[in-house]
Structures are given as C-alpha cells and as structure tokens.
C-alpha cells in the first residue's frame, strides 16, 4: 500500500476526481466571471473604472472592511478565552468548552441568523426583558443595522477562530510558563508577557481566517442587516440578480477574490493548513 501511495502518479490519480470537480465547479465558472467583468456591457476596463469611482460601491467596500475588522477582533478575543479553557482547563471545563465549540457547527447559518432576529428585534427577547426589568423604556435597535450583523457574524465565526488558537496553545511548552513563574512573574504577567506572545502565530492565523470569512458573508448580513448594511457579497448578488448589471457584479467579484487570495497567501505563511481543523 505504502509503495502505491508514495508513487507520484498514484497520488495524482487519487486526487484527480477532486481536482476535476474543483476545476469544473470553481475555476471554470470563475474564468467566466472574469471574462464578464472585462466584456459586459462592452469590452474594456469600464467596470473597474466604475468600481473605483462609484461612491455606493466604495461605501459597501468600506463597510465590509469595517464590519470584518470588528468581527475579527471580537471573535478572536472571545475564541481566545474559550480556547484557553478548552486546552488548559480542568477535564470538566474542557468538556463544556468543547460542547460550546462544536454545537454551533450542527446548526445551519440560516437558523442561527433567524434565531438572532428573534432575540434582538424590537419585540424580541432582549428588548422585552430589558423593558420588563425597567432598564430601558423604548426598545433598542439591535437588529437591521450593523450591530446585528456583527453579533450574528461573530457568533458564527468564533468556532472557526478556535482551531488555530488551540493548535498554537497545544504546542506550547509548559515548562516555559513554569520558568516564568519560577523567575518571579505573577500568573497575570506570565499570561500577558509569555503565554500570549507565544501563541502569536495562532492569533494571526485565527484573525486572518475570520477576516477572510467575514469578507464573503452573505446570509447573515442579508438577514440581520435588513438591507440597511449591505456587504460586498450582498452587493454582488444585487448587481447580478436584481439589476442587470452583470459586468459590475463580476468586477466586484474579481476584486474580492483577488483580495481574499492575497490574504490566504499571507495566512499560509503563518499557519499550516492542518492546524486549521
């Protein structure tokens, strides 16, 4: 068996179905999209010109980057805390943390988005409770705005942020932490000046993954943003399906894919792919 698998030809043959599938389902259609971006409605760089000058497109890009940045910071911070418990907690704490990390994977993104609507809307659970205890008199606008989008996306992305962090925390040598304490450093100081810097690659990997995922989010912003905080993916959808502006939609897609590709290249400089699962 070993001999067969180490054989390059054999490996290529075994990989072939996947490569063919990826080629047919992604690469080929993507080249079609690239083609549209240069040819619709007429050949040339016109759509890229629009992309650079249209204030609407630009505001959507800026919003997308802003939301992605906030979601990244919040998700990584929350995931860091969960991962510390998961990797270094007592056995009981580990089980609870693991449960919290895995359960979200079993619930569809659509269900979760509507779940947040039910919790955050004007007559949703949070506002009802807060009014009931007299904390607020008027309902807070928690959904159909950027806040709702950020909450929903953060909730979705925290589990993805956990894995690179866990990999970096697991590979950390405990003796280094003991050494810090033995040298007179308090637990707090050991955490901030030794533990956190030593998990730097995990933090970078985790942040890049969340950021890249955030850039392409569609369902969550569409539902929780209620059309008021449109992100890039939704803008592409609108250009293709609602206004017959395929050329511009295609150009935005191409820019998004190139940007994400560059970020992924950066990601793999810090993290090996197998650390992400």
């Amino acid at each position: 068996m070993k001999a067969y698998l180490s054989d390059r030809m054999g490996a290529a043959l075994l990989m072939a179905p996947l490569l063919l599938f990826l080629g047919a389902a992604y690469a080929w259609p993507f080249f079609g999209v690239v083609n549209w971006s240069f040819t619709l409605p007429e050949p040339g760089l016109g759509q890229y010109g629009t992309l650079l000058s249209d204030p609407l497109v630009q505001s959507v890009f800026v919003r997308t980057l802003r939301i992605a940045a906030i979601v990244t910071i919040v998700s990584v911070a929350a995931a860091y805390a969960i991962t510390v418990v998961w990797v270094r907690g007592t056995p009981a704490q580990r089980v609870i943390a693991e449960f919290c990390i895995l359960v979200p994977f079993w619930i569809s993104v659509l269900t979760r988005a509507f779940g947040w609507v039910a919790l955050l809307s004007n007559r949703g659970l949070f506002n009802t409770w807060l009014q009931a205890i007299g904390f607020i008199s008027e309902p807070l606008t928690l959904v159909r705005n950027e806040f709702g989008v950020i909450v929903g996306m953060t909730h979705f992305l925290i589990p993805f942020a956990v894995f690179p962090l866990a990999a970096s925390m697991r590979s950390l040598d405990d003796r280094v932490l003991l050494a810090a304490r033995g040298l007179g450093s308090s637990r707090m100081r050991t955490f901030w000046s030794v533990f956190v810097p030593m998990t730097r690659s995990g933090i970078i990997g985790s942040a890049l993954i969340v950021f890249v995922f955030s850039l392409g989010f569609f369902v969550t912003p569409a539902i929780l943003g209620g059309g008021r905080s449109v992100m890039v993916a939704e803008l592409i959808y609108l250009r293709i399906f609602q206004s017959p502006d395929w050329g511009l939609g295609a150009a935005i897609s191409v820019v998004l894919v190139l940007f994400v590709g560059a970020l992924m290249a950066l990601l793999f400089r810090y993290v090996r792919p197998k650390q992400l699962i």
Partner: protein, 364 residues
C-alpha cells in the same frame, strides 16, 4: 530564598508527595547547607525531580514542611519563592532575545533600567555570551542556550539555584565543558545549588554532597567519596558504579572493622564496616582490586580464573570467576592483564582491607 545575594539554607522535614495512589516521594528529611552544591541522584521515577519541583514551589507536598532560612515556605507560591531554576530543555522564552530573557526576572522585580542594563552586561560577560545579546534562542547552539538559561536563573541573585537535568541534551564534550563552567559559577556566586541528574559520574564530579533516591525514598546523603566508598545499601552501591559482590560467611566484628570467611579464606575489613549478621555481602569496587601471581600472607585475597579480557586503552578490564563461581570484574594495567592471561589464566585477587565494605545479605 528571599534575600538576594545571600545563599539560602533549606530544611525539608518529612516531605511526602502522592499523585493519586502513587507515592512519588516519601518521608524525606534533608538539610541543604548554605552555599552547598547538592546533587539529587536517582533513576527516573525515583522522586528526585518531584523534590526539586517541591523546592521550586511548582508542586505542593502532601506531607511535611519546608523551611528556607528558618522560615516556613511550604505554602508559598513559586513566584514568591523565586528560586533560580534551569529546566531540562532550558525553557527559554522563544519570543524574546537573549538580553530580554535574562532581563525578565529583573523586569518582574521592577528594577531600574540602568540596573537591569548593568546586571545583564555582567551576566552576559560571566557566561560568555558577548555578541549574542540580540539573538533569539532558536538562533543559538545547545550550549549557548544552556548559558542563557543559567544567566537568566542567576541574574536576580537567588538564594538557591535549582537545576533539572540541565545537561541531558548536550553531547559529551560540551557536557564536560558546561560542568566545569557550572562549578565555576557555583564558586563565583556562592549560591546554594541543587542539581538533579541520573548520571552518577556527573553527580560525583560536581557536588559537595550527593543524595541518592529510589522509589520515592532518600536512601543516602553524603560527600561523593563517602557514598561511593561506603554506600548504605546495595542499590546505592550498584547505582554509583560497578561493584563486585562476594558472599561472606561467619561475619563478626573485629578490631576497627570486621572479619569473615570468603571462599574459605579469612577476609578482614577495616574502617566503617560492621557486621550486619553472620552472613553478608562483601562489596569491592573493581578499581580497588588487583591481581597477583600468588597469595601473600596477611593480605585479603581469593583465587580466581580469568575468563575474558577487554582492552580499554588506558587499562584492561578482566572478567574472572572465583572457585565457587562468583563473577568478578577488575580493571588492571594492560601488561598485568597480558601476563595473567599467559599464565594459564589462574590468578590471585587481592584488595586493601579498608576498600571492602559489607552489605546485608539478600535484597536491599
């Protein structure tokens, strides 16, 4: 361990540690003197590292009390004990430069920038790391990393320096060099050193006293020559080096020692050897035995036949069998071995009366 610049004196009374049902350390009572170089020696799982971790404050003992300069520190957390510690594998901070690693304990103690700079400079000079200040640990050789670990552990002038098998990752030549360096650092700093190793030659070469552990028990503490020449039991005798053991019958105490019958010859022992029963084991280190063509009156000796020889360069190792079948090994000059083998292999084994010692017959 709290006053910087002053060697600590440590007293352990009845220290025990259980991990579940496993007794890692049992009823250990030991005084570690000010400025002493004490080695904790034993095979893996013997409790030596557990004791070191208890001294550092990383492990809480289940029984007993620990005192440093007369103050009970049993419950004091590691960061407040601040014993300098060198770990197996060094445990350097991989994200900090050599300089920052050494500065860490000083920064934690909120020393002034000027003082930190001065002390780092001195320490880097002392351990010979000049020119490497800005490098990361991963850019250094094993020996250099070792020096950083030593510098980091000594820079804040701890009362005691704890070393957990610091040389296990180094090759033999470098190990000798680092041992000499550590001896020098001990003399220069005057700090109490507690050193853990499973290498008996390292223990004998470095320490002012050796504490031998097995199965969680402290078996014997003493100066290197004391534990080597007068081991308290068979385990210590065997762990510290090769040893020949011969059954001895009719043992009784005699003037400044003991006498007994070994293969029908009367054997005398002098110095700290007293009878532990009428049957005992006579133990002699190979290097104290020599071979002679025939018996000399009044000297210890038995007849034996050489069965094999191994040329070791400086000497030859001879394996012999006595008349009653006991196996004995001696280390003799090369030409002596050659002539012994040429004379039909039959030789006479002798040893000085003060070099033999008695061990209880059977078991420990």
């Amino acid at each position: 361990m709290q006053q910087p610049g002053r060697a600590a004196e440590i007293k352990a009374i009845g220290i025990g540690k259980s991990f579940g049902s496993f007794r890692a350390l049992d009823d250990l009572t030991l005084d570690i003197g000010r400025g002493e170089f004490l080695t904790l020696l034993g095979p893996s799982g013997s409790g030596k590292t557990t004791f070191l971790m208890i001294l550092a404050g990383f492990v809480q003992p289940t029984d007993g009390r620990l005192y440093s300069d007369g103050v009970d520190i049993t419950e004091r957390p590691a960061e407040q004990r601040a014993a300098g510690m060198v770990f197996q594998g060094y445990a350097l901070f991989p994200h900090m430069s050599v300089e920052a690693n050494i500065a860490f304990p000083l920064k934690v103690r909120k020393k002034s920038a000027a003082e930190i700079k001065r002390r780092i400079g001195e320490m880097i000079e002392r351990v010979g790391l000049k020119g490497h200040e800005k490098k990361l640990p991963s850019q250094l050789s094993g020996g250099q990393q070792q020096r950083v670990a030593l510098a980091r552990a000594l820079v804040f002038e701890p009362g005691v320096l704890l070393l957990d098998e610091p040389f296990s990752a180094l090759d033999k030549g470098l190990r000798g060099q680092m041992q000499a360096e550590m001896k020098r650092l001990h003399q220069e700093t005057g700090t109490t050193f507690v050193f853990v190793t499973h290498d008996q030659s390292e223990a004998l070469a470095l320490s002012s006293r050796v504490a031998i552990f097995n199965h969680g028990k402290l078996l014997q503490v003493g100066a290197p020559d004391e534990v080597y020449d007068r081991p308290a039991n068979r385990f210590v005798a065997e762990f510290l080096g090769e040893i020949n053991m011969l059954p001895l019958k009719g043992v009784r105490n005699a003037d400044n020692g003991a006498t007994g019958l070994c293969e029908d010859r009367t054997i005398t022992l002098r110095g700290n050897a007293s009878a532990v029963g009428s049957n005992a084991i006579l133990a002699i280190r190979p290097e104290y035995m020599s071979i002679a063509p025939e018996a000399t009156a009044g000297e210890n000796g038995i007849a034996a036949t050489a069965v094999a020889s191994t040329y070791l360069g400086a000497a030859t190792r001879l394996d012999l069998t006595t008349r009653q079948g006991a196996k004995v090994t001696v280390s003799v000059p090369n030409e002596v071995a050659a002539s012994a083998l040429s004379k039909g292999n039959s030789v006479w084994l002798t040893w000085p009366a003060e070099k033999g010692f008695l061990l209880p017959d059977g078991g420990q």
